[in-house]
């Protein structure tokens, strides 16, 4: 590193002749910023006398003997020693900032950029290098496994069904929104996150506690993720960066969902046929449902159309096929994602700029297509002193096209999973999958209808949806330095996302043929032509929508240092409007592109369905949909005061108002605040621990909010038209509740930051408590008053959570081989403390899969309970406990459990279904030009419900699971298996028996596991040309293996029912000119 020491010893000749006792004076400035260095210690090496620099960096010290040496020490700068030759000497020293502080990324809260040590709140910053550890196209996915305090949940949903994919420090609400707020540069980003090109991102900051997040107010209750994009630098040479990568995605492993052997399934299905299970379907002449190939054979045999021997041969043939093998062979490919990006940047004294372009091309494992182009332009100008104008444009254009149908959809015939299908015959001809009864479609209409054959391999070529999304962000900001530390800035951002979808089903597609057939009426006289109520020709569905947001912010910034004091503060207000236009849609029948033609159809009349005869209307998406608009107005202030660089007091205040419908303006305002204190212990004079040169303690407390604009105090009705009468109609869809208030969540955070000598070990430890009070929760409703719901939402729920975030970096080797490890450990738990609902009982978490928030007082928000297990009895029936005794009266066990919960003795509380402990270990190894890193992720302290074979599932048409083989088959089996005997629907408590077993102890397993998340290998060379071009070639493998798991069934706890995250391999090159 460049050691730039400027020593300007101005010798004042006059001073030389003055009194020998004249003090030595001088001033210290920062080498980089030329700002005065305040509060530095000046120490005489001869006498030990000390002095401090004042607010303008000046010092004065009396020395006794000459020559002496003065040592300047300051926490933020490298220590410097200067020789003093004589009294009265004037010293001007420029101190070099500590390297690590310079390298440190600024924390961007979206309102201000701060150094990490200026913040009392809890933040995690993921810098560019860490973001490039993973290679996916989604910026948020790149945070996986490397972000302290952030966890990706698999399959978890909120109480009302909303997704809960990412959570920061667990939950702070029960029924409110669960997603963290995402900020792109300075403003919320509500569009599709896939629009953002990860190569444009400089860093990501996670605001975790209330003090950090509360600046974002009413929507920050779930934490905030701030994405900061790259920009050009002033006084910088021309820089060009090129990055190109190829990412290969393995298709889904269909065998990961363990399934019973095909031969067993066929035997079982035959048994069902013999019992008459399919008779209703076979005799159904109303809707003509399709039958599985086996049942077709069996029907023919029963009707005498096939001999026993012929049928046996055909059944044997079916046993040879496996839908999974067929699907893998004909439908699945390795997906390929290409990412190419190029950026150019530079800057002069008055102007800085960066222009970046990106192109993505994705061919999915299912042959779906996705193309995306990003253009990012960032300009900054300083036209006059103290004024900076920034103009930014970000444009994204993506288009996607659907691929082949999913495994589940093509293997399902009349809603039954068929495990022995073929999709291609021996001659390479596609085989149709029946959608209606084959015998009916072969003859229906006497040749006057179109074929009813559905070819899953070809349908997508004839019936596909293309979706184009464009996103444009335009931002202008003006920053003016008014006076010394005071500046004022105004930011405006306009963003618009358009989406257009075009679904075209041509005349070859099953969709079109089926619809035309169903809406055809054939006159009794065959000489007359058929009446096509849906005309011949393709069917085109068009839809578009838009999302427009506008933001305006004005902010005063103040930063002033004098003597021991330092103040940083902002005050501002902002307005935001987000307008969602679901847009309009159009369906065109009889469509032909060239020459263009289309046919008008009658949407108002009902025509008899050709198959069922019941009157139906021609489907149409035609119409204009309503707009939704949310508006926010906020004022906020945030400030911190530091004394002597050791004590920092911080606080924030924010008031938000939104256009919640039906609220009086005064009730719309919701105040939130936070405060914190930080203490740099290692800065104290009494602090003598030399092994731990940096130690800071901080405590914060504050409130952040949760707002759901759908919840309103007035009976609100939706408006529409009755399809029958055409009258304008209104529908009150939720019960009014004038007492409803916004949710608030309080959080306390205790943190310690530390650094050992030479940074061998550094890191932070944090403990936090969360408390959500007056949360939205259902309160049982006497639905005599209002029949559409059994509950009414009130502010009746409370919850509590606490946790620990630990992040430690160790430098293990620092010689020829460099080895660094980042250890992340997180603990989080939350529980419901107040809730009113019939469903808030352990009984309900026993009958659920644990993937939905199910508030039970005293339990984690995601929890599981299981039926106590008494083993199988001598008949192969599962046994539970009723009144302390073994029982197979499942209905009675349910009733007791529903009424008395754990007290009934039939239930056992299991635990959380989200990991209490989670984190990662990332190792970085460097040897010469080779870099290797790998990331291990772990989750522990939780449970999941595994799938199992049940009679009901397979009879009702689900997939028969592999543990069918373990089922009880003869007396004695109960000694070594927990899988009950197969029973038919005539079993007295058929559904209850399976329900009990599925939710009993043997099927609840621990989720703890360690997985190898990714491995990265790179070769980095610095070329010996003028600009020092850096060439980097890298390879990455992700979603690799589970190294250890607590369950013995080899299940991936993040995907226990199959379909785990697909393995990915990337190769790429990055050149920095």
């Amino acid at each position: 590193m460049k050691k730039h020491i400027v020593l300007a010893a101005a010798v004042c000749m006059a001073a030389l002749h003055l009194c020998a006792q004249a003090p030595v004076t001088g001033s210290l400035i920062s080498d980089r910023t030329k700002d005065p260095v305040r509060g530095a210690t000046v120490r005489s090496l001869a006498t030990g006398a000390t002095a401090k620099t004042n607010g303008s960096g000046h010092f004065s010290i009396k020395l006794k003997s000459f020559p002496d040496s003065l040592r300047f020490t300051h926490i933020g700068y490298i220590t410097q020693t200067v020789v003093i030759a004589h009294p009265g000497q004037v010293v001007l020293a420029a101190l070099t900032e500590r390297e690590e502080e310079m390298e440190q990324v600024f924390v961007n809260t979206g309102y201000q950029k701060l150094k990490p040590n200026e913040i009392n709140g809890s933040v995690t910053v993921i810098d560019n290098k860490m973001l490039n550890e993973q290679t996916g196209t989604n910026i948020l996915q790149r945070l996986k496994g490397i972000t302290n305090g952030l966890v990706f949940n698999s399959g978890k949903v909120g109480a009302e069904g909303g997704n809960n994919d990412i959570s920061i420090r667990g939950l702070s609400t029960i029924n409110g929104p669960l997603a963290p707020l995402i900020i792109l540069d300075n403003f919320p980003y509500e569009e599709n996150i896939d629009n953002i090109n990860p190569n444009d991102v400089e860093s990501v900051t996670i605001l975790k506690d209330a003090a950090a997040a509360s600046i974002w107010g009413a929507r920050a209750g779930n934490g905030v993720i701030v994405i900061t994009t790259k920009r050009g630098k002033y006084n910088d040479r021309l820089r060009i960066n090129l990055n190109s990568s190829y990412l290969f995605t393995r298709p889904v492993d269909l065998y990961s969902a363990k399934q019973m052997p095909v031969a067993d399934y066929i035997t079982l299905e035959q048994g069902l046929f013999d019992k008459g299970y399919f008779n209703e379907t076979i005799d159904n002449t109303a809707t003509r449902p399709a039958l599985s190939p086996l049942v077709e054979v069996l029907v023919k045999r029963r009707e005498g159309k096939l001999s026993d021997a012929e049928a046996a041969t055909q059944i044997e043939a079916l046993k040879q096929y496996d839908s999974r093998e067929q699907y893998a062979r004909y439908f699945q490919r390795t997906g390929l994602t290409q990412q190419h990006s190029l950026s150019v940047s530079g800057g002069s004294g008055q102007f800085s700029w960066r222009l970046a372009g990106n192109y993505n091309h994705v061919v999915g494992a299912d042959r779906s297509l996705f193309d995306k182009i990003n253009v990012h332009l960032d300009n900054r100008i300083r036209p006059v002193k103290n004024l900076e104008v920034a103009l930014t444009a970000y444009y994204t254009n993506s288009s996607s096209k659907g691929g082949l149908p999913s495994f589940n959809s093509v293997t399902s015939i009349n809603r039954r999973h068929v495990p022995y299908l073929r999709f291609m015959d021996d001659n390479g001809q596609s085989i149709p999958i029946d959608q209606y009864r084959r015998g009916y479609t072969d003859t229906a209409g006497g040749g006057r209808l179109q074929s009813w054959d559905y070819y899953p391999l070809e349908e997508y070529e004839h019936n596909n949806t293309t979706r184009v999304v464009q996103d444009m962000i335009l931002r202008a900001s003006v920053d003016y330095k008014i006076y010394k530390g005071l500046s004022f800035n105004v930011d405006y951002q306009y963003q618009k996302q358009w989406s257009k979808s075009r679904a075209l089903a041509d005349t070859v597609s099953f969709y079109t043929r089926d619809l035309i057939n169903r809406f055809t009426s054939l006159p009794a006289n065959p000489a007359l032509p058929p009446v096509y109520n849906v005309p011949q020709g393709a069917i085109l569905d068009l839809a578009n929508g838009a999302l427009i947001t506008k933001n305006l912010r004005g902010q005063l910034n103040f930063s002033q240092h004098w003597g021991q004091h330092s103040i940083t503060a902002i005050f501002g207000s902002e307005m935001r409007e987000a307008l969602t236009e679901s847009g309009d849609a159009l369906t065109i029948y009889g469509y032909q592109e060239d020459p263009l033609s289309q046919v008008r159809v009658n949407y108002t009349a009902a025509f008899p369905n050709y198959i069922t005869g019941s009157p139906e209307r021609i489907p149409s998406r035609e119409g204009v949909t309503a707009y939704y608009i949310t508006r926010f107005v906020s004022t906020y202030a945030n400030g911190s005061y530091t004394f002597a660089r050791r004590y920092t007091l911080s606080g924030s205040f924010r008031k938000d108002a939104a256009n919640v419908f039906g609220l009086k303006t005064n009730d719309k305002w919701n105040p939130l605040w936070s405060s914190g204190i930080g203490w740099l212990l290692s800065g104290e004079s009494f602090y003598k621990v030399s092994a731990l040169p940096y130690l800071k303690l901080r405590v914060t407390y504050g409130y952040s909010g949760n707002l759901d604009t759908r919840k309103t105090p007035l009976p609100i009705s939706g408006v529409g038209n009755d399809p029958t009468t055409g009258f304008m109609v209104q529908r009150i869809s939720s019960l009014n509740n004038p007492s409803l208030r916004w949710e608030k969540s309080g959080q306390t955070n205790f943190g310690i930051d530390f650094r050992l000598e030479q940074d061998v070990v550094s890191g932070s430890l944090e403990y936090y408590q969360k408390k959500g009070t007056n949360l939205y929760g259902p309160s049982p409703l006497d639905y005599t008053t209002w029949g559409l719901s059994r509950y009414i939402v009130k502010n009746v729920a409370d919850m509590k959570g606490h946790g620990v975030d630990v992040s430690i970096t160790t430098k293990n080797l620092n010689g020829k081989v460099k080895w660094k490890t980042i250890w992340i450990y997180n603990y989080n738990t939350s529980k419901t403390t107040r809730y009113y609902s019939d469903q808030a009982k352990d009984f309900y978490t026993a009958n659920d899969d644990g993937n939905r928030i199910n508030p039970v007082i005293g339990r984690p928000l995601y929890s599981l309970t299981a039926y106590r297990w008494g083993g199988l009895d001598a008949k192969g029936d599962p046994q539970g406990y009723l009144d302390g005794k073994l029982s197979t009266d499942y209905k009675a066990i349910y009733s007791a459990a529903a009424a008395k919960g754990l007290q009934s003795g039939g239930l056992k509380y299991v635990g959380s279904t989200v990991p209490l402990h989670f984190g990662s270990v990332t190792n970085f190894l460097e040897w010469r030009q080779l870099q290797l890193s790998f990331n291990l992720m772990y989750k522990a302290g939780y449970y999941f419900k595994k799938g199992t074979f049940t009679s009901a599932e397979v009879i009702m048409g689900g997939m028969g699971r592999a543990d069918y083989a373990l089922r009880w088959q003869q007396p004695g089996d109960e000694a070594h298996t927990t899988v009950p005997a197969f029973v038919y629907t005539d079993y007295l408590q058929f559904n209850e028996r399976d329900g009990f077993y599925m939710n009993a102890e043997p099927n609840v397993v621990r989720g703890d596991h360690i997985r190898l998340n990714y491995v990265n290998l790179a070769y980095e060379a610095r070329l010996k040309n003028k600009t020092g071009t850096v060439l980097r070639i890298y390879a990455n493998a992700a979603n690799l293996w589970i190294l250890w798991r607590a369950n013995k069934y080899k299940l991936d706890p993040d995907a226990p029912y199959g379909d785990p995250a697909a393995r990915q391999y990337t190769v790429g090159v990055n050149v920095d000119f």
């Binding site: 005799d283 004022f488 949909t625 508006r631 303006t665 719309k668 639905y783 008053t785 059994r790 209850e992």
Partner: protein, 461 residues
């Protein structure tokens, strides 16, 4: 420099204050969507009542029909039924919760109450009198209609002597959900229905713009129905007669524009000429039992239709070894449960016959008017009866045959058993014999268990 600073400070705080005080209130008053509104005006309230999805379609109780004797289940179908359905099918006591007949039928009651209360705040003047009156009359009618439907299911048969002691339903007359529900007596409930419907009739137009909307004819029909189930036959006669004076159309089963060929699965036109007011049976709860595509028509009942009776073809389809019902005026599987002229003819005929000799001729005329439209022209011979009792028996049998799957039979069984007709319901399921005795307390079906828990209202015995 200092001046500049102050200048900015003043501008900034000034604009912030200005924004907060004035602009912001307007900015925040923007409605969140053009798809929502707080219903207040007369037009809004009419729009609420015009929402057939909540007011007419799939809202009347299913459990009455499901407990009655017009249908049976095959052994195969019974096996696929839920425990609640099985218990219900065999008249066992059972616990059940949301969503059910109770929740479905009380939904229109809330909307009616909302309209009645909001209407008070709307000025009534010369220009809006008709619209105001239509909303007021409609709201009263809808509330009474569903009260009466609930009474048929959840209360005992009306018995003049016991009516003031017998438990009726919760008479909710306000939309405020904080007001507790309590069960009124059967007498109070019927009184409310009768009074409100009479008032509704005053405000409603003779004919509705659409059969989803209440009308004077519908109000009279509802009164006729209500009085019939109260066994106040004179009043029932009066109102059936008034209804028929407004509307007396009948579909001719021989040939009629409102009737398609018998080859179509559902031959009757929806909103046909007989429909006075349109509602449908709810399709949750125990509806699966009477789902007409699955359940079969009682074989004894089926055999009672004469060969020349066109209803035998229009109403039923062969289904396996038995017959299924397909003759709903909904042109779908869901049963039409609304008010129709055929029912009014039968009520007037029954009430005439109950007057004795003086009513005999009138009763036979009404019956023959109806049957002439039901039988093949060639095969129809006018029915005769020498005594009023003989005529009454004939009328009651035709009533059952005509009004099948309309949600009426359960109330008829209750009512007729009060007069000693001794209708015993019997079933044999999986070898077990089940029997429901006349006037059993089970005829007032149990209320939802969760409603009992929340409100503390007494459960039926």
């Amino acid at each position: 420099m200092k001046n500049q600073l102050y200048f900015f400070m003043v501008i900034f705080t000034g604009s912030a204050v200005l924004l907060g005080m004035t602009g912001c209130a307007k900015f925040l008053d923007k409605k969140t969507s053009n798809a929502i509104v707080v219903p207040q005006t007369v037009a809004d309230l009419q729009a609420l009542l015009d929402n057939a999805g909540l007011m007419n379609q799939t809202k009347t109780p299913a459990s009455g029909e499901a407990a009655a004797d017009n249908y049976f289940l095959t052994a195969d179908y019974y096996k696929t039924c839920s425990p609640i359905e099985r218990a219900f099918y065999t008249w066992q006591r059972y616990d059940y919760t949301f969503e059910n007949d109770w929740s479905k039928a009380y939904t229109p009651v809330y909307i009616a109450n909302y309209c009645l209360e909001l209407l008070k705040k709307q000025e009534q003047n010369a220009t809006n009198a008709a619209r105001w009156g239509n909303v007021y009359g409609s709201a009263l009618f809808f509330r009474s209609y569903y009260f009466q439907q609930l009474l048929w299911v959840y209360a005992k048969a009306y018995d003049e002597a016991a009516a003031s002691a017998d438990l009726g339903i919760a008479l909710r007359l306000s939309y405020d959900f904080n007001e507790p529900s309590r069960r009124a007596s059967v007498a109070e409930c019927y009184q409310q229905v009768v009074n409100d419907t009479r008032e509704a009739a005053y405000y409603l137009p003779d004919h509705p713009e659409h059969a989803f909307r209440p009308s004077k004819a519908a109000a009279y029909a509802l009164l006729a129905r209500t009085f019939l189930s109260m066994r106040r036959y004179d009043s029932a006669y009066k109102y059936a007669d008034r209804c028929l004076k407004i509307k007396n159309d009948l579909i001719d089963f021989n040939r009629d524009p409102d009737l398609g060929t018998f080859k179509t699965t559902y031959p009757f036109k929806k909103f046909n000429r007989e429909t006075v007011f349109y509602t449908e049976m709810m399709i949750g709860g125990v509806y699966g039992l009477v789902l007409s595509t699955r359940s079969k028509v009682d074989t004894v009942l089926y055999d009672k239709y004469a060969e020349a009776d066109l209803r035998k073809k229009a109403y039923f389809l062969k289904s396996g070894d038995y017959y299924r019902f397909r003759g709903s005026y909904s042109k779908a599987s869901v049963p039409f449960t609304g008010l129709a002229t055929d029912e009014m003819y039968l009520i007037r005929a029954e009430c005439s016959a109950r007057r004795g000799v003086e009513g005999l001729q009138g009763a036979l005329t009404d019956l023959n008017t109806l049957l002439a439209k039901r039988y093949e022209k060639s095969g129809f011979i006018e029915v005769t009866a020498s005594t009023a009792d003989a005529a009454l028996n004939m009328i009651l049998e035709e009533r059952r045959k005509e009004l099948i799957w309309r949600g009426i039979r359960w109330s008829d069984i209750k009512r007729l058993n009060k007069e000693g007709r001794n209708i015993v319901l019997e079933k044999v399921v999986e070898g077990q014999h089940y029997r429901l005795e006349p006037n059993s307390s089970y005829y007032a079906l149990p209320l939802p268990t969760d409603i009992i828990d929340i409100t503390g209202m007494p459960q039926n015995e």
